[in-house]
Amino acid sequence: MFQVRDLTVKYQAKVVFSKLSFELADNTILAVLGPSGSGKTSLLNAITGLLSHQGEILLNGHPLDTKAQTIALVPQDYGLLPWKTVEQNVLLALKVKEKKGGKDQPKLQALYAALGLTSLLKRYPHQLSGGQKQRVALARAFALTPDLLLLDEAFSALDLVIKQKAQQLFLRQWQETPVTTLVVTHDLKEALLLSDQILLLTPNKPQLITNPLGDLDYDSRTEAKVLTQVLSELEAEVKRQW
């Protein structure tokens, strides 16, 4: 169980949100939706401990412990180290966690192939396009098989086709080894396609709703007749609130 209790995040005097509380059952995927500047990235930063905060964040009843648990993060700006090649960036994260399984080469190669990175492994980040950087960050997170996965608009710079591939890859992985996940996104469709629950981070009253499509798998959701309808309902709700 993942619990956030009375979380308050500030930058100096400016309060981003105060006393935010919610709970997730084990291995849930939560989509975090909210207007630009509503504090989605700040929420992730508070969870990872980068941002000091008040309140409690508990995984299975214990405060998050980055030592015992693997937390994988795909930051909004990708967070690649410019002096490491694509491959080194991925391997470094694995090395830090000493995930021996992760170094299982065939699996890694499959991951690279699925994300279209195979020909880019020896490149430095500045030689990549925006979408390619984002995919490297995804590869790094997926390779870790983490206990908590945090994605900050991690599919936003990808084109249609590769985005779908990446989302499928994510869900396939998730089905193999389920893990509590927070997906920050602006894309309502993405939220509906990927999540079990949706956190609407509206300025006034944050709201946790259950994804009506939550029980279907990815492909069924894409093809679900109700998708369009649910989408427009959600859109209307969001437009009303923000």
Partner: protein, 247 residues
């Protein structure tokens, strides 16, 4: 490659042209013309020349080594361990500008007149330049760089090798270049005692004899040697920062 070489020749040409014009204008023995110096040069080249270079390089090498070994960790620690930094920074601000030369008697007392005291003196002077250079470079590293690894609970060692070091390497090499220049300058105050060898000794000795031809010969030797050392650092820089741009 050829182009680089041509540029070098061009630079040398300009330097010598300026020198020649200045020498002709000044027209005194204290600034001899390039041709006078070069025609005198063969008399200087002998076994001693190589020993002079050898001893100076030996002292420079060890000084740079110690200054790096001491200065880099301190510079990094003063940023990465803020508690330490808060106490260490004022110490640096007080001690850096202290006239190290005034401690020469103390150093001599403790380390004698040989190479040890010279190396200590040079290190003492340049270690601060390295500390400040590294410190300022490390403090420029954006904290978000550390984020992804911090979340993975990387130990300090990994953090250092993966982020801090590469991010501040450019600053370190820049300060190493500056320190090298300073170290060479200090040869003129450290090689005048307790030795008969060294490029600094040679130049000061010729100065005392008012033998300006030999002195300028020595200056040329030291400039060439230093140029080679500088080029070496630039080469390392080029290699280590190859991830930056496609030059």
């Amino acid at each position: 490659m050829v182009k680089k070489f041509l540029r070098l020749l061009y630079a040398l040409f300009i330097l010598h042209a300026i020198w020649a014009v200045a020498a002709l204008l000044v027209n005194r023995p204290l600034l001899p013309t390039p041709w006078a110096v070069y025609s005198y040069f063969p008399q200087l080249v002998g076994l001693d020349l190589w020993w002079n270079i050898y001893f100076s390089l030996y002292r420079l090498g060890w000084s740079l080594f110690w200054a790096t070994v001491i200065g880099v960790p301190l510079g990094i620690a003063s940023v990465r361990f803020p508690k330490f930094g808060q106490l260490f920074d004022p110490l640096v601000y007080f001690t850096y500008p202290m006239p190290k030369i005034a401690f020469l008697p103390v150093v001599m007392l403790l380390a004698g007149l040989g190479n040890a005291s010279k190396i200590i003196m040079i290190s003492l002077i340049i270690v601060f330049q390295i500390i400040i250079g590294v410190r300022d470079a490390v403090s420029q590293v954006p904290s978000s760089m550390y984020q992804v690894l911090e979340v993975l609970h990387a130990n300090r060692w990994t953090m250092f090798w993966a982020v801090t070091w590469p991010a501040s390497l450019a600053g370190f090499l820049s300060s190493l270049k500056i320190a090298l220049g300073t170290a060479i300058a200090t040869l003129f105050f450290t090689e005048i005692y307790g030795t008969q060898y060294g490029m600094g000794y040679f130049i000061m000795d010729q100065w005392n004899r008012l033998d300006y031809l030999a002195m300028f010969g020595g200056i040329i030797v030291i400039s060439v040697v230093s140029f080679l050392l500088f080029s070496l650092i630039s080469l390392i820089e080029h290699y280590c920062l190859r991830w930056q741009k496609d030059k």
